[in-house]
């Protein structure tokens, strides 16, 4: 099988899977659907590995062109796919984690009547995600970009009978669209300024002082804000938890939301050349990391906590990108994919066990009921909290170190965010698995460990979360920072451009020690509060302190958006419809005919019927006509 075919089949197989399942979903059994869904992704995964190995062995990036998609005037967009180190890594994550989540879904969704539909959506999602990362030009990336948004919409609203889920889906899609607009405008500006939209042609043309670079990068970043849930376009992500949990794991933790990171990394050269945008990315990243982390502190829905944690971690990735540490960002993205997927799937397992109970106030003491889940979940929590030697430690530390090089304040904020992360994650862990159980008798009676199809992915992911950090062990520990080297070709030009600090090893040790110490302290605090004191978050309706209340209500951002965007939009619509349209323009148009009628009645009144009057008019006419002879 040639490389080109393989490249084509990587995205095509999930698409085939989707088509197959979608067209026959009413006729095939759920087993068949699951089988098709998993197999296609798995084969893609195999192909991805093959390509990855080739790249690892020093092959040049592969580009495979298939046909011209759009061409108009001097605009041309080929359907051509690119596999280079960056996308290859992404492929592995997408197909690998995607496959695991497919497998997990077999167990998780087995009871659901729409399981066939579910698999078709998942496959479609994988297809679009692959398009996003494999597209060799901006437009194909945009295809994937929009496509994953669509799948996200479909999957969030998977249980479409529930209108609040649909609301969440709509919100996700529309908010994404805001970002998409930025992205597409950015793409168009790239085309206008560089005459092409193919990476291979654009990047060499980008030089210091290329026109509109700042604008382009900011617009692109707006896209990233939408997709990767950064301030101010992040509010959809927590709501997106309405979807089935595997979806949250796959789309809203591991893959889709990292598209923004991928995109910025892909365009690293553009960003490196526009310091303003870099700063913006950094600031937004920092703000989001901290902001989301604080919100997560007070959430009681197991998935919501994880969602805000995702937002926060994504912020951290953007911090990495914003300081020019692209490889670190990608590294963290990879590890995050492992442990966040793990956490979500673990949460899913808990939810599954408790019959769709998601409120941690109704949990507690579950570790003895569902030990596998507990154990893997614990690994996930340790990983995300940055406890060595779990994956999260390396990647997070990498970012913090790079941030410190760049700006100490940035480091401080990022560190604070990661400390908060440790706190709320352990809070989550303690409230869920430790202490006395708060679930009802009835629920407890049925609690059981999930089937193998669910626990197996958990275990695999746990393993990955444990050892995943090894791919980026810094030189400090004698590691080669393999990931940085592997992706170096992609970031080569940027690295040359950006100032190269090198922290001394001692500083790095100090920072690392500092963080670990603080993390342990924070964990201790969490332990004291939730285990020793057995504190349980206040139930719904209890009075809260103002600060707590604000955080609990997510700083009222949703309400603010509702007040300044959604309501005015509807008001404008109403205004246009009623005032301008109906009583303005249309009224004016009708007025023409009405006034015509009035005039007509008036002139018909001149037709009095009195012949004397007629003659009178006639004589006046004669007088005028004759008088005309004087003026001719």
């Amino acid at each position: 099988m040639s490389v080109n075919t393989m490249i084509l089949f990587i995205p095509l197989l999930p698409l085939l899977g989707f088509t197959l399942i979608a067209l026959t979903q009413r006729r095939i059994t759920r087993g068949t659907a699951a089988w098709v869904g998993c197999t296609t992704v798995f084969v893609s995964f195999i192909f991805s590995i093959i390509l990855f190995v080739k790249l690892l062995n020093g092959a040049e990036p592969f580009t495979a062109s298939f046909f011209t998609w759009i061409s108009a005037g001097n605009f041309k967009s080929d359907f051509s796919l690119l596999v280079d180190p960056l996308s290859s890594l992404m492929l592995l994550i997408i197909t690998g984690v995607g496959f695991l989540i497919h497998v997990y879904s077999v167990g998780y969704m087995w009871e659901d009547e729409g399981v066939n539909r579910f698999f078709s959506y998942l496959n479609l999602f994988v297809f679009f995600m692959l398009m996003l990362v494999m597209g060799s030009n901006y437009l194909l990336m945009y295809v994937g970009w929009e496509g994953v948004g669509l799948c996200s919409y479909l999957l969030i609203g998977f249980w479409f009978k529930n209108q609040s889920y649909n609301d969440a889906a709509n919100k996700a899609f529309i908010m994404n669209r805001v970002g998409d607009l930025g992205l597409i405008l950015g793409v168009i500006l790239i085309f206008i300024n560089f005459g092409s939209i193919s990476y291979a042609e654009v990047f060499p043309k980008v030089t210091e002082g290329s026109t509109a670079l700042t604008l382009i990068t900011i617009l692109l970043f707006v896209g990233a804000m939408g997709k990767s849930a950064q301030i101010p376009l992040y509010t959809w992500l927590p709501d997106a938890m309405a979807g089935p949990t595997p979806v949250s794991a796959l789309i809203h933790a591991a893959t889709m939301v990292t598209a923004g990171v991928y995109m910025v990394a892909r365009n690293n050269i553009l960003y490196s050349l526009s310091p303003v945008s870099m700063e913006l990315v950094l600031i937004i990243g920092l703000a989001t990391a901290l902001f989301a982390a604080t919100i997560a502190l007070a959430q009681n829905d197991i998935k919501k906590v994880l969602a805000y944690s995702t937002v926060s971690q994504l912020g951290l990735m953007f911090v990495a990108l914003g300081v020019g540490a692209y490889a670190s960002g990608i590294f963290h993205m990879a590890t995050h994919a492992f442990f966040k997927a793990l956490l979500f799937l673990g949460a899913g397992s808990v939810i599954h066990a408790l019959h769709h109970e998601q409120d941690i106030r109704q949990m507690g003491g579950l570790k003895k009921y569902i030990p596998v889940t507990f154990f893997t979940f614990l690994i996930g929590v340790l990983a995300i909290s940055g406890i060595p030697p779990f994956a999260g430690f390396f990647s997070k530390d990498d970012i913090l170190a790079k941030a410190f090089e760049h700006n100490q304040v940035a480091w401080a904020i990022a560190a604070l965010a990661s400390l908060l992360t440790s706190f709320y994650m352990f809070r989550l862990l303690f409230l869920t698995f430790y202490g006395k159980t708060r679930a009802s008798e009835h629920t407890l009676h049925h609690v059981h460990e999930s089937p193998a199809s669910m626990t197996l992915p958990l275990i695999v992911l746990a393993v990955l979360s444990t050892i995943g950090g090894l791919m980026g062990v810094p030189e400090l520990f004698g590691g080669g920072n393999w990931i940085a080297k592997f992706t170096a070709p992609v970031f080569a030009r940027s690295h040359k451009l950006l100032p190269e600090h090198q922290l001394s090893h001692s500083t790095e040790y100090i920072l690392m020690g500092l963080i670990i110490t603080f993390t342990l302290v924070v964990i201790g605090m969490a332990y004291r509060r939730y285990i020793s004191q057995a504190h349980v978050p206040a139930s719904e309706g209890a009075t809260l302190s103002p600060l707590h209340k604000t955080i609990y209500h997510k700083y009222y951002v949703d309400e603010i958006y509702n007040a300044i965007i959604v309501k005015p939009l509807y008001a404008i619509g109403k205004l246009f419809d009623i005032v301008i349209e109906k009583s303005g323009i249309d009224r004016l148009v009708n007025l023409v005919s009405e006034s015509l009628n009035d005039w007509s009645v008036l002139s018909a009144r001149l037709q009095t019927g009195h012949v004397g009057f007629y003659i009178f008019i006639m004589v006046i006419g004669v007088v005028l006509v004759v008088a005309y002879s004087f003026f001719r």
């Binding site: 009413r26 046909f67 011209t68 998609w69 759009i70 061409s71 108009a72 005037g73 001097n74 605009f75 437009l139 945009y142 295809v143 929009e146 496509g147 669509l150 919409y153 609203g157 479409f160 009978k161 529930n162 209108q163 649909n166 609301d167 889906a169 709509n170 899609f173 529309i174 669209r177 805001v178 998409d180 607009l181 597409i184 405008l185 168009i188 500006l189 085309f191 206008i192 939009l569 509807y570 404008i572 619509g573 109403k574 246009f576 419809d577 301008i580 349209e581 323009i585 249309d586 148009v589 009708n590 005919s593």
Partner: protein, 498 residues
């Protein structure tokens, strides 16, 4: 050989004659066979147009030309032919017409005259798109108005007399002004006055700016009303709502393309100076229309009205893109016209399907249709995706190219026009949610899924949407040469200025 060449030249004529002949035939026959003959005629038309497509040489300009002097004393000839732009729109017409006829197949109440009018309409529409003579163009333009008027008047809904009259007078106002402009140009043609397209181009280009402006104003008004462009659009939602579904389909899917086509063929190459001078104004009006109509669509409660406003928004984008006078804009307009035709056809048809089953178009009263009619809702969803310009659907290609051209024109104009990406999603997804998702209610729980003839109409549409989304290039290639030819005048113009 000789015969084949002759037949080749007659292709365009056949495209006009076949439906008209069928229309006359139908009048003479009984109502039972009418719909079958109509379907047959439209299918025959489709075959002819496909033959034309097959033999079309996209590197050349106008083909299948047929010219015969008609009213020689007035310099009017029956001159028809197709270049890429015409061919695309003819294809749109011929592809959609069988669908429109098919959509009546469960309805036996329509008399023969209905089908006759539909076919007449098709003949006239094709005529508009292929006319190479100013007078002929005007003639078909007007003739196209009559059947649709009667269709709406005879089989329309409540209050149809007043609304259709408004529609008629509105459009007639425009077209009469266009007539004045055409006559004006005619009187400026060199030598023996003639309505031949090239002569009119020549006459138009030789005018000074004030006169060109006059011509531009008259003709653009006609086209803008047809499209319709803000603020000349108020006839449209009412008419779409009141018209029977086939009328709405004709109006929205094909007829409003006449307006854009007019701008492309009869305005842009005709009065370049005025287009340069006033294009900006027209463009901004179009862009205002996009936002304006989108905002109104957001608050619409009537399903059909909502689609009508969305159509205004989309057409605003097309018109704005056209007026950028760039190849990308024009190509985008072409493909978007095709796409919009297909999409809006699908949307209105779905509205009708829902209406036929529930007797309501009020969005608030629907809901949960996905539960009972998955094929319907899935079709709707895919069509909707094209309407909101999701990549790999037909809507995306056009919309991207159009926004691209607008950004090239002015960044902020492009940005504002781009808002349609967001607003479109807002109202379309809201509609989908309100009508299709959720629990069923008493009204919607009895809905049956698509019947065979409905599938026959909708599935090809869905297929077309996806096909055009993934492989738009063949279509773009068809019109490429024609578009470049049209725009060459502008490069000449700027060259001469330099």
């Amino acid at each position: 050989m000789w015969l084949i060449r002759f037949l080749d030249n007659m292709l365009t004529v056949a495209l006009i004659i076949v439906p008209i002949a069928a229309a006359v035939l139908i009048m003479a026959l009984s109502r039972q066979v009418a719909k079958n003959i109509a379907l047959f005629a439209t299918l025959a038309e489709l075959v002819i147009s496909l033959v034309a497509l097959y033999q079309f040489n996209s590197a050349m300009g106008t083909q299948y030309v047929f010219t015969k002097s008609w009213i020689s004393s007035l310099g009017i000839a029956f001159s028809v032919g197709m270049d890429g732009i015409s061919l695309l729109l003819v294809l749109l017409t011929t592809v959609l017409m069988p669908g429109i006829i098919l959509s009546t197949f469960n309805d036996n109440s329509k008399p023969a005259s209905f089908y006759s009018l539909m076919l007449l309409m098709q003949g006239a529409l094709v005529g508009v798109f292929v006319a190479q003579d100013g007078f002929l163009f005007y003639l078909f333009w007007e003739i196209a108005l009559i059947p649709i008027y009667f269709i709406c008047l005879n089989w329309g809904g409540e209050n149809r007399g007043k609304i259709t009259l408004k529609f008629f007078i509105y459009t007639l106002t425009g077209s009469l002004l266009m007539l004045v402009a055409l006559i004006f140009l005619y009187s400026k043609t060199p030598g023996t006055h003639t309505f031949a397209l090239s002569a009119l181009y020549e006459a138009g280009r030789s005018l000074d700016l004030p006169h060109q402006t006059f011509v531009f104003a008259c003709m653009f008004l006609a086209f803008a009303i047809k499209m319709p462009v803000f603020p000349l659009h108020t006839w449209q939602p009412d008419t779409y709502t009141v018209a029977p579904v086939q009328g709405t389909l004709l109006l929205s899917a094909i007829m409003l393309k006449m307006g854009v086509y007019g701008v492309i063929r009869w305005l842009i190459p005709m009065v370049p100076l005025a287009v340069k001078e006033w294009g900006m104004t027209a463009l901004i009006l179009s862009v205002i229309g996009i936002i304006y109509a989108s905002c109104i669509a957001i608050v619409q409660k009537d399903f059909k009205r909502l689609i009508a406003y969305s159509s205004i928004a989309h057409v605003g984008l097309i018109s704005a893109g056209t007026l950028t006078l760039t190849t990308i804009g024009l190509q985008g307009a072409m493909i978007q016209m095709i796409s919009h035709g297909v999409v809006v056809f699908g949307l209105f048809y779905i509205v009708e399907i829902v209406f036929a089953r529930t007797q309501t178009r009020e969005i608030g009263r629907l809901g949960g249709i996905r539960n009972v009619a998955p094929a319907l809702s899935t079709s709707f969803f895919i069509i909707l995706l094209s309407s909101v310009a999701l990549p790999f659907t037909s809507g995306f290609v056009g919309e991207f190219l159009l926004i691209n051209s607008l950004v090239q024109y002015q960044l902020w104009v492009g940005g504002i026009a781009g808002l349609t990406i967001i607003l479109g999603a807002v109202y379309m997804f809201r509609t989908f949610q309100k009508t299709m998702s959720g629990e069923t209610n008493t009204l919607t729980s009895q809905i049956t899924d698509l019947a065979t003839h409905e599938k026959l109409v909708l599935y090809p549409i869905v297929l077309l949407i996806l096909l055009l989304g993934v492989f738009p290039k063949p279509l773009l290639d068809i019109s490429a040469t024609a578009v470049n030819n049209l725009l060459s005048i502008y490069s000449d113009l700027s060259a001469s200025v330099k």
